[in-house]
Amino acid sequence: MNENISNKEKMHKEVPNFLIQNSKNGKKKSLVFIYGVLILLTMTTALIANATAISRTVVAIILGISAIKFILVAFQFMELKHANVFWKSCLLFVLGLLLLVLIFS
């Protein structure tokens, strides 16, 4: 009986550890993936700007990609996703307003 209890206790201890380890690795993998996307987007904007003539469409594309990078850094790296919904809305509002001014002014 005592052995059974101790085995169960062991299992309870082992399973959460395993899950914790998985979640830890999962979080790191997700950060690595986001980082890869950010680098790719940075190179894309630089290439677009150098390879094409600057027009309103190109400006909108470059600023749109920059906005995606901004959101990825704020929500994933800065962990704004865990902040209060007020701050999330504020950031998206400020970014949206700025993009509108930059693209359409």
């Binding site: 940075t42 990078k69 901004f70 950031l91």
Partner: protein
């Protein structure tokens, strides 16, 4: 901390709106001035800051896992990214000064110097905060808590965010 971040973003945002406003007034001048900037330097600096921000995020993650040694290691990598940014920015500034480009050259370069220098000051302050936090969390009987590390990280990511707005407006869209 979020309030400070928003105030900073709004301040830089208004300045960038002014850049675009004057850019529309004098498109030729802004285009020729923009071509004198080194896009490769700007892109590499963006990569330095993004890499640094990535290490910062991992450092916070490790701190939350109570692995102070690993967290400190990633803090140092974060600082290295910041230092590389400073070095490349200094080289870029040196080239501009050598070419006789100053704040008085034209309105584009007034914005360029003001905005990039103001951002650079933030990066330097960020590096000091990073070094201080890293020292605090690695010393014996450390009283550094996760909120301290998160606040430090938030400031550093703010430097990232500001640069992500400055880079396309100054280096790419004119």
């Amino acid at each position: 901390m979020w309030i400070i971040i928003f105030l900073e973003l709004i301040t830089f945002g208004m300045a960038l709106a002014a850049v675009v406003y004057y850019g529309n007034e004098q498109p030729e001048l802004f285009h020729h001035s923009r071509l004198q900037l080194n896009t490769a330097f700007g892109a590499i600096n963006t990569i330095f800051l993004l890499t640094s921000g990535f290490f910062m995020a991992i450092a916070v993650h490790e701190f939350k896992e109570n692995d102070i040694k690993k967290s400190s290691f990633y803090f140092k990598l974060t600082m290295l990214g910041g230092l590389l940014f400073l070095i490349l920015k200094s080289i870029e500034y040196y080239h501009k000064i050598e070419a006789g480009i100053s704040m008085e050259t034209n309105i584009f370069f007034s914005f360029y110097w003001l905005l990039t220098a103001f951002h650079l000051i933030h990066v330097i302050i960020g590096l000091v905060i990073l070094a201080w936090t890293n020292y605090g969390m690695t010393k014996e009987n450390s009283d550094t808590v996760v909120e301290d590390v998160e606040a430090c990280a938030a400031f550093w990511h703010m430097c990232d965010l500001i640069w992500l707005l400055l880079f396309p407006v100054l280096y790419l869209i004119f």
